[in-house]
Symmetry: C2
Subunit: 358 residues, 2 copies
């Protein structure tokens, strides 16, 4: 919190409005639901932070990890919280940072009340802090990644042929918690032509012999996420599936090799993309190469063309190139990696070669 206040001041901001969600958990450990009633941690350069909560949640906030460490103020249900924010922030004319996930209804309330201030995303201040994971965070991310590897191992020891995607997705969710996650967060099962939809919603399609199946799933452990993708063949894969899988595998390895401290995030994207482009599948790689991961499934740094941010030791992100052939199949391979002094270390160890399952 002290570093957040320093950065708020050095960025020339008049304050930060931190809303329930990952920013608030990161700074205080307080897990409050985002609701229509405003809860906000106010970071104020030059003075102590204050946590503003709805009156009925005052005892809950005091009983949370924030209680005792941060002064808690409250506002009543029949009242208006936005003038309270203005007073607590000292009505700054300087720009105010707001959590990226703050609800628009709350931002509009703040803009009405702090009519002289401009507003910017708080990630300008908080992302540099949150991007650099400490050992405790890396331990949780590694534990989540290990549990994801184990969930995949359990799933691929089952028979997939003849089952519906939605049934496989349900089994995957069970394996995610069974292997050690607190919660299952998402389970993409894209079989056959459905694999060409990168974020396919698992449905009623029955998995058949010869299918290529994209399995992309994750859960959370101590608040930190896993995110693993493997593409498996049901029975013997066709030559085309083998070829495309091989290209994606090489692209994924090239991106991994490109990671080092000081390298621009977009260079990692380019490393994967150039392998796929050279193989003639450039137009079929229809998304960025990866995203940061931590208290959010997606967070900075984004591994995308246009992001020149230099990678730093302790950054964690996905490397997940893919090729999507409409009406036929898709292939994606994804690991979570951490930037080290010398390059990258993968938190996932599941085999990256094309695996044939029953």
């Amino acid at each position: 919190m002290a570093r957040a206040a320093e950065r708020t001041a050095s960025a020339g901001l008049g304050g930060l409005v931190v809303s329930p969600g990952p920013d608030l958990v990161y700074l205080t450990g307080y897990e409050a639901p985002p609701l229509e009633r405003l809860t906000a941690l106010l970071i104020r350069p030059g003075t102590d932070p204050v946590l503003l909560v709805p009156e009925l949640e005052h005892p809950r906030a005091e009983a949370s990890p924030a209680g005792g460490r941060i002064h808690v103020e409250s506002w009543p249900d029949a009242g208006d919280p936005y003038p309270v924010v203005r007073e607590l922030l000292g009505g700054p004319d300087a720009p105010v940072g707001v959590s990226d996930r703050l609800w628009a209804s709350h931002l509009l309330g703040l803009q009405r009340e702090l009519s002289h201030a401009s507003f910017v995303p708080a990630s300008a201040v908080l992302a540099p802090l949150r991007m650099r994971k400490d050992d405790g965070e890396l331990g949780l991310l590694a534990g989540a990644a290990e549990a994801a590897d184990e969930a995949l191992r359990r799933l691929t020891s089952e028979v997939l042929e003849g089952r519906r995607e939605e049934d496989v997705a349900a089994a995957l969710a069970m394996h995610l918690t069974g292997a050690g996650h607190d919660t299952a967060a998402f389970t993409i099962v894209g079989s056959g032509p459905n694999g060409a939809s990168p974020h396919h919603h698992a449905g009623e399609r029955e998995i058949r012999d010869g299918d290529c199946v994209v399995l992309d799933f994750g859960g959370s452990l101590g608040g930190y996420f896993s995110d693993l993708t493997r593409t498996v063949a049901v029975g013997a894969p066709s030559d085309h599936i083998r070829e495309v899988h091989g290209i994606v595998h090489r692209a994924q390895a090239a991106a991994f090799q490109a990671v080092a401290p000081g390298v621009a995030a977009q260079e990692v994207d380019r490393a994967a993309r150039s392998v796929i482009e050279q193989a003639g599948y450039g137009p079929d790689f229809i998304h960025r190469t990866g995203h940061g991961i931590g208290l959010e499934e997606h967070e900075p740094p984004y591994i995308v063309e246009g992001n020149a941010t230099p990678l730093q030791v302790g950054n964690t992100f996905s490397i997940e190139p893919g090729i999507y052939l409409a009406g036929r199949f898709g292939v994606r391979i994804e690991d979570i990696v951490v930037v080290t002094e010398t390059g990258a270390r993968s938190l996932n160890q599941a085999p990256r070669e094309l695996v044939s399952v029953a």
Copy 2:
């Protein structure tokens, strides 16, 4: 969607930006996760709506209930979606409505790009539509309420004494899904002095003989929520618990009696509050009397002082007065009700009298 466009025009708005979440589900049935990549339904008076999605989610959107009915446009990962929104909305100078839950980062992106427009919450247009539930919605809300009643029945047939709050909360979550919900959403278990914290986070406290226990829980069914609170006594309740429970019970009944079409929402709050004030506990009723419920756990109409909105047939909301005595105990009684031609009908049937459990 046609009615939303009409209301957008008659409210003098240049368009609506509807983000993933309840607004998007209500208008299109498309369940997309809110993410850093912008997904938005654009309602445009005088022309057809368009659904803007990230390129990699184009096939998913087309396969959703929105596909085929709404034109889908996409933007690529290395691109910027906000200029696309400006073009698709026709760069209006008129105010633009944005979903209350749109992320602040997206609203700031839109404000940068549509620098001549002002922005207002889309609930100004959408709340009047969403507040008036149709028969299908009422059926789901009634089914969810029935499942909540059943979950309570199952829990109160168990022994609570000697168990931790968090264990009882886990059992309640299991009963919520076991009794018919798709998912358990929240489980407040506030025993003894913890009951004085209305949104207490169930913890390690062991429930004892003589405790008063606030049980406030809900789940979702077909996207629609339940929300039920009962306060039970473990063993024989003290005279003080009996007295306070009796007052809250009378306040809850008074609020129920006050409901009718055309009555201002705040009158229902006043009806409950005056019973509690007359009994001398006014300062201990530290929240509004209720909130609307539907695709969100909390939504308009809010039953709170200052809300003069007249109730309409088909509105659904909670009636949940409470009394909270710091360091001692709390009592809350909550039902979900629907406004009818002649008054109110409760969707919950669980007994409201003080029940003693083992």
